[in-house]
Assembly symmetry: C2
Homo-oligomer: 219 residues x 2
């Protein structure tokens, strides 16, 4: 293990899932949880759970487990959910508009603060409280609003150009919904959103009704 | 372990990710992969990988590893991607329309074959080749088209009603995009889509530019 001071991408991707499970426990007034119990919920072995959480220091106490509230707070800090985060979006089509509607549900301080589109008839239209801005205002707005993450919801053939513009404007992370792999410099983080994954895992359960009825409870 | 013949939800949710990683290897003409290499890519320990894949029989060969093509084929079978799967969608708003646009990219045989909406002005409009149908045709169309999965993209306050309609029509699985927990009978599988998770894990990488430059490569 050379990753003593780094948290790997896979672990970071599991953190929102931990946060969700812990949030559910918190809502049910459960105050402590063992790595074994977390492991059962996530079907990871307890050693894996302890290893994942050990990246962030020594939370767990032998025989008692993890303090749920403390772990939530700590993961929120690690994911930087304890500070405002401004997100910009390019592509005010159906998907872009849909994502803006999620603004209300975006956890914590994360908000889509500006929407851009390259197509003149769409520029100036409203999405909730946001007015769609022209692409040539992107760099200026990214600075002004301190936008650090860019969301791409344009068609595949336009996505690389949008990524280049976001990079030039100085965003640090990109969430790409276009079904295409994008080239970005090393210092910019890119994630790919893919709802088809949810559909694929759902398909597994079809034609398995006999089995699923007896399936071990994992929630 | 009482799960000898069952595959847990968490493992099923990891299968599309395995499939993605294996697909990348296949594209790069890599024919075998060890549990150690897969573990590095997914930051799971090799024992976890072997345990996950052991659910499906003995694929790996000591000292050689897993045959990439064979594993892809096997996981595709397990996820039932080797047979046509008809998906229905209720809620022809921005998100519903956006998801229909993904139809082209939906892997394999999985397709959205019908779209429904409760609002009269939207019924009869077109989304690509699909005509939006009224809710009172749901039961009939689900049977006719053999729709087995329902996608919900209506506002939160309408979602439970739509879920009830899907259940009454006989779907076996529901993918819910509305930000609300739904009640469905035991025999219906429900998954919650949440793009905010992708955003949350992306936020981790902000203000970490110094670190991410040296981060171990995990693709």
């Amino acid at each position: 293990m050379t990753k003593t001071f780094k948290i790997s991408e896979a672990v970071v991707r599991r953190l929102p899932v931990y946060l969700q499970v812990l949030g559910d426990l918190h809502k049910r007034d459960i105050q402590t949880v063992s790595s074994q119990e977390l492991g059962n919920k996530l079907d990871l072995n307890p050693a894996q759970i302890r290893k994942d959480l050990a990246y962030f220091g020594e939370f767990g106490r032998k025989g008692i487990g993890y303090d749920v509230s403390y772990l939530i707070e700590k993961i929120r800090q690690i994911l930087k959910l304890d500070q405002p985060l401004s997100v910009g979006l390019v592509g005010a089509g159906n998907l872009g508009r849909a994502l803006c509607n999620y603004n209300t549900y975006l956890k914590d301080n994360m908000k889509i603060t500006a929407v851009f589109d390259a197509h003149a008839p769409i520029v100036g239209t409203k999405i909730n409280s946001l007015t769609v801005l022209p692409m040539d205002s992107l760099i200026e707005k990214v600075k002004e609003l301190n936008i650090r993450i860019g969301i791409i919801t344009v068609p595949a053939f336009e996505a690389q150009n949008v990524a280049d513009r976001f990079v030039a404007a100085g965003v640090e992370g990109i969430l790409n919904f276009a079904p295409v792999i994008l080239r970005v410099p090393e210092h910019v983080r890119i994630h790919y959103a893919d709802f088809t994954r949810d559909l694929l895992s759902l398909a597994y359960y079809l034609e398995k009704e006999g089995e699923t009825e007896n399936e071990p409870v994992v929630d």
